[in-house]
Symmetry: D2
Subunit: 136 residues, 4 copies
């Protein structure tokens, strides 16, 4: 699946996070970058992006990275997540850069790092595991 | 803080999850129950509640449980989360029952279990850690 | 599998943690209690039990709880762990009380709490996921 | 602290994992590599390295990486861990490559990847958080 395929899948299948406006920036066989546009509506007092919003960004990044490999038919489900929130994100768009650590027959694992555009400092990291349905 | 205090705090400070309509059912010194009303708008295809929605529910439950102890002034922030998604939630409201495992000077930890109203089967569990600002 | 069966399995199959002397206290269909005897040799300076020792205790507790249900033939492997270390354990034996949260066809999940004998205060908690091989 | 300083600290302060023979390979301001020599005594049946052994390796790697920055006086303690076990390690030595994600005043976070010497395939990854005592 290409960036455009993944974007279309995201827009169609994840309506409840549609308001976040997440953009698929680029994908290859092992990594993906997605972007969360700055949005005053999702900020907490003090200018922090909420935990659930960052969780959604991390989950979408790894999920699309797996789908890019196994195709949109398969129904992968998140089974476990470990996530650390390390810094308050600065103003501006937030990037999630994910890497596929394992793509097995039954489980896939990805690690994702969140940071602001133009900043090296990590805002959060997460490792997510997905259960993959049996493939024909 | 009472149930009504926590509900008012939630409605005021967490506008971005306001549409979820989370209800503070009851709280005591060590546990809390919050409820996510059924909402067709937040369902994924197949009837599953999305991971970010369940994350938000778990995070709110433990956060309010800590605030009930330390008061609404303190600004606790989530620092790490481990969460397992175990079953597709059945139709109906979802309950989060959280327990305070530690309330230290610097860190607080809670464990939360999500299950449908009227069902013993866990949909998800999570352990969340919060950093607590120095208190006067 | 009974307590004695699990103890024999533990002693036979986990030689590298044999020196810890972990004891299977009791097991039923949903919970298990195992005990780590106090051992000056495993203490860190300051009297703390090491993280890897507590990890081993937590892992053994949930692993044996699963085996008690599916039998000793099946080869379950740990796939993910979220663990929080909350307090320095006091002197004395340490108990791990684990509960089976899910026993699916492919994945099993357990939650375990570590505390000293005679104390309510949690030393650590962990959620562990195991991949279960296909069963005939 | 140099590689030799860290090795001496490890050998002195972590006697209970001394038998593992972990070697500090190299360290810089942001990353560290430590090595677990192959040891038939720590293998599980089937040739798998045990979870607690891999946990110890991951924990040591990030702990030493933090100490290399803040010095050996400070007493950092592990507060939470998320770890995924992805593949059975092949025969041979195991490397842990850790990266410092955050070094704050109160909390430090590192991410570590475990793989066999000469192999790109990850055996495990972990994110670990440490509480850092107040520094003068």
């Amino acid at each position: 699946m290409t960036e455009a395929d993944l974007q279309a899948f995201l827009d169609r299948e994840f309506p409840e996070i549609g308001p976040l406006g997440i953009v698929v920036e680029r994908v290859d066989a092992r990594t993906i970058t997605v972007r969360l546009p700055e949005n005053p509506a999702t900020l907490r007092p003090g200018g922090t992006i909420s935990g659930p919003t960052m969780f959604a960004l991390a989950d979408v990044a790894v999920y699309l990275l797996i789908l890019a490999q196994i195709g949109p038919v398969a129904l992968a489900v998140t089974t476990s997540v470990g996530m650390n929130f390390m810094r308050k994100p600065p103003a501006g768009d937030l990037l999630a850069e994910a890497e596929l650590l394992k793509l097995g027959r039954r489980l896939a694992v990805g690690h994702v790092r969140l940071h602001a555009v133009g900043s090296d400092e990590l805002v959060a990291d997460a490792s997510l595991t997905y259960s993959i349905p049996p493939r024909a």
